[in-house]
Symmetry: C2
Subunit: 236 residues, 2 copies
DNA sequence: TAATAAAGTTAGATTAATCTAACAAATAAA
DNA sequence: TTTATTTGTTAGATTAATCTAACTTTATTA
């Protein structure tokens, strides 16, 4: 059985790597992410190594073992199921769910997870558009791109947010955007990188930084990979 | 902010006292209840005293302060709301809910408790018939008695169980009993204290020990106080 | 009431998770 | 290729929660 803290370290390692094109993770990076000191993370890494959850050599990079990855994905699954529960059933707004899910993700009960999953009708995405791993640990991934990559004149559909901070999420709502909204990219200012968009007939302008944190899928785009091609990412 | 463990101690102090006619609680009793050693409980009592949550002098009895009681009741409220959620919404059986609720009761989010309460339509009793404190900390109490106190020839309604262990709860189901069932007391064997009862037209016999762990309300009983007289127990 | 038992306390140790401060290794810059 | 910077490690300390073993106080009983 893992402790609350061990679970957080494993989840952090998985997320840091997964959200950055499966890059290798270092001690300081991990420590920063978890808001602890490098010395603390270093101690924990030794423990996780002893337990066979991470591959790690002194001064080397950190990777999750198969077992470590399994646990990490399980915590992520619980986190996102709880977020969905709070959002769908208890009327939390999408900027409020994360904090509470950070606690709920550590409740130990396989039966609870299974029942919750069923109660929510086996959701595939959480309120932020992030994929919810299924019971086997498989994650549906979409070939999504950011709004900043969409060519002028194209239309796309918002599917997720990259920045999950409540300040950003509230801002997104304020701008009139939400998951599944159709976004038309009208034009881009070369001078200050502002992007003019149209959502539900309403026009507005968003900054480059903003556009980089909105994930979309679309066809006929000038940049990036084909969208709307869901596939399944198996656990290696 | 209280720790997980501090919350458990406060809840334990409240329950030991409440379930035994508001008796005063001792260190060893508390330790036994929480399955820790007396030395451990003693250390914690000092801490809780420092925090103003218990009244306690060396070698004396332990009582909760007003603040301590408030926290204890809040944990109890969360515990019983979660039990109700698991039972009503996720189809857990009544012998499975306690263990998971022991974890869920420590989730810190006032909003979550309020929303959950609303989602469950402000329930007054949990799956075991125990009263759920409302937001103000008020607890509806029934003048219930045990099945063993009911006179031969009387009828009564089962409202709760005294023993919450899953083995007992499973046994109750096996015997064909459940909350809100009408129970007719047919006869009692003087020799071995067996009680013959009838539930939904089905007759069976239960032991003295069993009968002492079933709470009922009824009119026209020979023993005990008047039933069916709900009142509200304010926080003193 | 004196002996015995029960209840409660203290001292010292352990484990998990964290920190600071000093140090070492690896990488980047000059 | 030295030097400087970044990255990572170690040693020693702290806090919360727990334990064992020894000790003290209170309560019971003979
Ligand atoms: Mn967490
Ligand atoms: Mn999310
Ligand atoms: Mn608890
Ligand atoms: Mn209950």
């Amino acid at each position: 059985m893992l402790t609350y803290t061990e679970e957080n370290y494993l989840k952090a390692l998985f997320k840091i790597s997964f959200d950055n094109d499966n890059e290798e993770v270092g001690t300081n990076e991990l420590a920063t992410y978890l808001a602890v000191k490098p010395a603390t993370a270093n101690d924990m890494l030794k423990k996780l190594k002893d337990k066979g959850l991470v591959d790690y050599e002194k001064y080397g990079k950190i990777t999750l073992t198969k077992t470590g990855k399994k646990f990490a994905i399980d915590v992520l699954r619980k986190h996102r199921l709880w977020e969905t529960f709070l959002f769908e059933k208890l009327d939390f707004s999408w900027d409020e769910v994360h904090e509470v899910a950070e606690q709920l993700e550590h409740i130990q009960s396989q039966k609870l997870v299974d029942k919750l999953d069923k109660f929510l009708n086996y959701p595939e995405f959480d309120p932020h558009g992030d994929t919810i791993p299924n019971k086997k640990g498989e994650m549906k991934v979409q070939f999504k791109k950011t709004l900043s990559e969409v060519a002028v004149g194209s239309s796309c559909k918002m599917v997720a947010v990259k920045d999950n901070s409540s300040s950003f999420l509230q801002y997104v709502v304020k701008v009139g955007l939400g998951i599944n909204n159709e976004i038309k990219v009208l034009s881009k200012q070369e001078y200050d990188k502002l992007t003019d968009i149209e959502v539900n007939g309403v026009k507005s302008s968003v900054s480059q930084k903003f556009a980089e944190n909105i994930f979309v899928v679309c066809k006929n785009c000038a940049v990036g990979k084909p969208c709307s091609e869901p596939s399944v990412c198996e656990i290696k």
